[in-house]
């Protein structure tokens, strides 16, 4: 029993001594679980073959390898080559082969990979925010990833979307709309606008549109 639970139980013990009647049993209600994001599958026409078995004559999607991730993150934020280096043991965990025990790069977007991506995204976006949104000496606007166009948040989000995913123009509109919601939610935190940019950055960092290409 931890200290908090013990303190909570203390009045009950005192009460038990005072009255012989047992206290009513309280069944704790479970914490509400955050629902996993679901995607509604469209209803297939009658007699349509199972999509799972269909051959699609296009390039298969693939996630970024560890090396591609390192170099791409540098380019996105206009950082010097070699700025981002994932430690060797972490790179191995993220699928990079060592050619001794593992000879083939794992490029599956596994839950373990996504866990590290979320962590890495946190470090990356915080670091970029430190540089781009620095109150005293922010990076020049033409080098920034965040708040590149101070007059327009949406323009800034469009820029981030372009750099992370290559999506722009009409295709970008629904993404920017969703990013704006992430931005507004982050900006409503104690961090203010910085929280908005970091939230948008993390949303892009963990998106399939970035991680798959």
């Amino acid at each position: 029993m931890n200290k908090k639970n013990f303190l909570w139980a203390l009045p009950l013990l005192v009460a038990c001594e005072a009255t012989p009647e047992p206290p009513p049993v309280v069944i704790p209600t479970p914490d509400p679980k955050t629902p996993v994001t679901s995607t509604e599958q469209p209803t297939m026409p009658v007699d349509h073959p199972d999509p799972v078995g269909l051959e699609v004559a296009s390039r298969g999607p693939r996630r970024l390898s560890v090396e591609q991730l390192e170099r791409t993150l540098e380019h996105i934020a206009d950082l010097p080559l070699g700025s981002i280096e994932i430690p060797e043991n972490l790179a191995l965990t993220m699928g990079k082969p060592d050619f001794l025990r593992v000879t083939e790069e794992s490029l599956d977007p596994s839950p373990l990979y996504m866990k590290f991506i979320v962590d890495l995204g946190g470090f990356y976006c915080t670091g970029i925010a430190d540089a781009d949104l620095n109150a005293q000496t922010p990076r020049p606007e033409n080098q920034r990833l965040m708040n590149r166009y101070p007059a327009s948040v949406d323009d800034g989000l469009e820029h981030m979307l372009l750099m992370f995913t290559g999506i722009e123009g009409e295709d970008a509109a629904p993404y920017v709309e969703r990013l704006r919601r992430a931005y507004d939610a982050g900006a409503a935190s104690a961090l203010g606008a910085r929280g908005g940019w970091e939230a948008s950055c993390l949303a892009l960092f963990t998106s399939p549109e970035f991680l798959l290409y």
Partner: protein
């Protein structure tokens, strides 16, 4: 599949009656320019594009052949192909000790606060331990003393009235890895001698060396080879029997963990640089497997010159067909050297030979990586009582023959590059028939080791017909023996002539860039076209890569 794409999929299929009749989904759309450029950039340069580069593409009005040519000519394409070739060559030699532990130095802070003193814990066993005492005793943390003859003075370490070790002090040495500086090294480890006498005894002083000396003494006597009192090189495999051998001048014969890591990394870098060079210069792709030239840097040159011959377990010696340039360890520049003899591209670099230590392993990797083929048994092994299980020749033994009929002749191409090392077994030193060379009296213990490792000297059964032959020739027909004589270049040429190398390269390139294997239809249509284009271009890898990324299927998104 993304929700929006699923919706597109549903809309298109809803209005396309023909989609129900075929098993091909053709709803995939071409990517727009910026997303396509991102894909191209990541695949061909290993990184997404910068903002400026995106704008350049926009200004050009899209991605055209000229832009792809420019990307393929850029050095970043060479770098982007590295991981692909690493996945073929598996560059990692961490499982193979490249020097014996007696020659690996560790810095030890003997007295807290004092500068560290370098020593080899394993050498401590042979040099300091006496009686039944502690075997990993370091030296004393004080300057070494020498007698009038220049010999190190060691003092007994007494524990419970018994001498358990003999300890010396340290000396200051200018190490090869940091010229102009000095480090403290235990006196026995630091000995600068280049040669010394083996097994001088007495057993009381060297209780952990003498039993092995006795064993070798018996071997030497059996083949009438000189042993006691002989002088051996301190960078040779018998150095451990010679107490007056240490790390040699400037510690040349020893590694630290840091120098060892640099040497290993250099050996693997040397291997991959061969492929880089061929891609960069747009030369025929197969030259990566056949070209003579290879780059050396200081760490590799130092290792080959001073350390490669130290181990009993690793077969290595100076290679007259690939002499390292005379450059110091500290010179990290790469220098091109033209090898001769049967050297063949990456396939005979120490990096490849140390990663795949057996002839069969070397051939197997080639078979998988460059011919897209695998060895698959044709069924369970028959009973060991079955007469066909008695064949010594694996190409004849049932249950083994299905794979070994192909594998053994392929493996023979590495037959003059020793297993468990990278020694070039030249005809001068290792004639095909070794009966004369290996008949007593032998000239040295080293000759004894060479004979029993490299020659068929104790044949049984079907091996009798090959008694005295160099191992690589055992069971080989005259035609197969040509593989031994000509080396891996012949194997590559056969693969090229049969079309297997071209076909495999194209299929692998397709799978690498398309992120999926070709469909059956593509095997019958696109792949043959790509192979013809690859061969027509003189096996230019860039041409096949260009053809793939310009193919409409590459630009489609699922």
């Amino acid at each position: 599949m993304h929700k929006r794409e699923l919706l597109t999929f549903a809309l298109v299929t809803a209005f396309s009656a023909s989609a129900y009749a075929q098993d091909t989904c053709d709803v995939a759309e071409p990517m727009d320019d910026t997303r396509f450029f991102r894909r191209i950039s990541i695949d061909l340069r290993g990184t997404g594009p910068s903002f400026e580069e995106i704008n350049v593409v926009k200004d050009r009005g899209g991605i055209d052949e000229e832009l792809i040519d420019a990307i393929l000519e850029n050095e970043s394409f060479v770098a982007a192909m590295r991981p692909y070739h690493a996945s073929l060559l598996w560059p990692n030699i961490d499982a193979t000790p490249i020097v014996p532990d007696t020659h690996v130095l560790f810095p030890l802070e003997i007295t807290p606060g004092n500068p560290p003193v370098y020593l080899s814990p394993v050498r401590s066993v042979f040099m300091r331990a006496v009686g039944n005492g502690a075997i990993f005793v370091p030296c004393l943390d004080e300057p070494a003393q020498f007698d009038g003859n220049g010999n190190i003075v060691a003092t007994p370490l007494e524990v419970g009235g018994e001498t358990v070790a003999m300890q010396e002090g340290w000396v200051e040495v200018e190490p090869y890895w940091a010229p102009g500086t000095t480090v403290r090294v235990c006196g026995f480890d630091a000995q600068p001698n280049v040669s010394a006498t083996v097994c001088p005894g007495p057993v009381e002083r060297y209780p952990f060396v003498e039993p092995t000396c006795n064993q070798f003494r018996q071997f030497a006597n059996a083949v009438q080879a000189p042993f006691d009192g002989t002088t051996v090189d301190c960078n040779g495999r018998q150095a451990i029997f010679a107490p007056n051998c240490g790390c040699g001048p400037n510690l040349n014969y020893c590694q630290t963990q840091e120098t060892g890591a640099i040497i290993r990394a250099s050996l693997l870098e040397q291997e991959l640089r061969v492929v880089d060079e061929v891609i960069r210069e747009g030369r025929p792709y197969h030259e990566a497997l056949t070209q003579k030239s290879v780059d050396f840097n200081g760490p590799i040159a130092h290792y080959l010159e001073h350390q490669a011959t130290l181990s009993f377990d690793l077969e290595a010696a100076g290679d007259p067909d690939a002499p390292p340039p005379p450059i110091p360890y500290s010179d990290f520049q790469w220098i091109r050297v033209a090898r001769t003899g049967r050297h063949a591209g990456v396939l005979t670099t120490p990096g490849y030979l140390l990663r795949f230590t057996t002839w069969r392993g070397r051939a197997h990797r080639f078979y998988n990586a460059f011919e897209c083929s695998s060895f698959i048994p044709n069924g369970p092994l028959p009973s060991p009582q079955d007469p066909c299980s008695d064949h010594e020749d694996l190409t004849q033994r049932c249950g083994c023959d299905a794979c070994h009929e192909a594998l053994e002749p392929m493996a023979a191409h590495w037959g003059r590059f020793s297993e468990y090392g990278f020694r070039n077994l030249t005809e001068t030193q290792f004639p095909r028939n070794g009966l004369g060379k290996c008949s007593p009296p032998l000239e040295s213990v080293d000759a004894l080791i060479d004979c029993f490792r490299q020659y068929e000297l104790e044949p049984v059964g079907e091996e009798q017909a090959y008694a005295g032959q160099l191992n690589a020739y055992v069971f080989r027909s005259d035609d197969e023996a040509r593989g031994v004589d000509e080396g891996p270049t012949r194997l590559v040429q056969q693969s090229l002539d049969s079309g297997r190398l071209s076909s495999c390269t194209v299929q692998k390139m397709w799978s690498h860039f398309m992120r999926r294997d070709p469909t059956q239809e593509e095997y019958e249509t696109i792949i043959p076209e790509l192979i013809a284009g690859f061969e027509g271009s003189g096996h230019d890898l860039k041409s096949v890569v260009k053809a793939i990324v310009m193919h409409p299927a590459y630009r489609r998104q699922p």
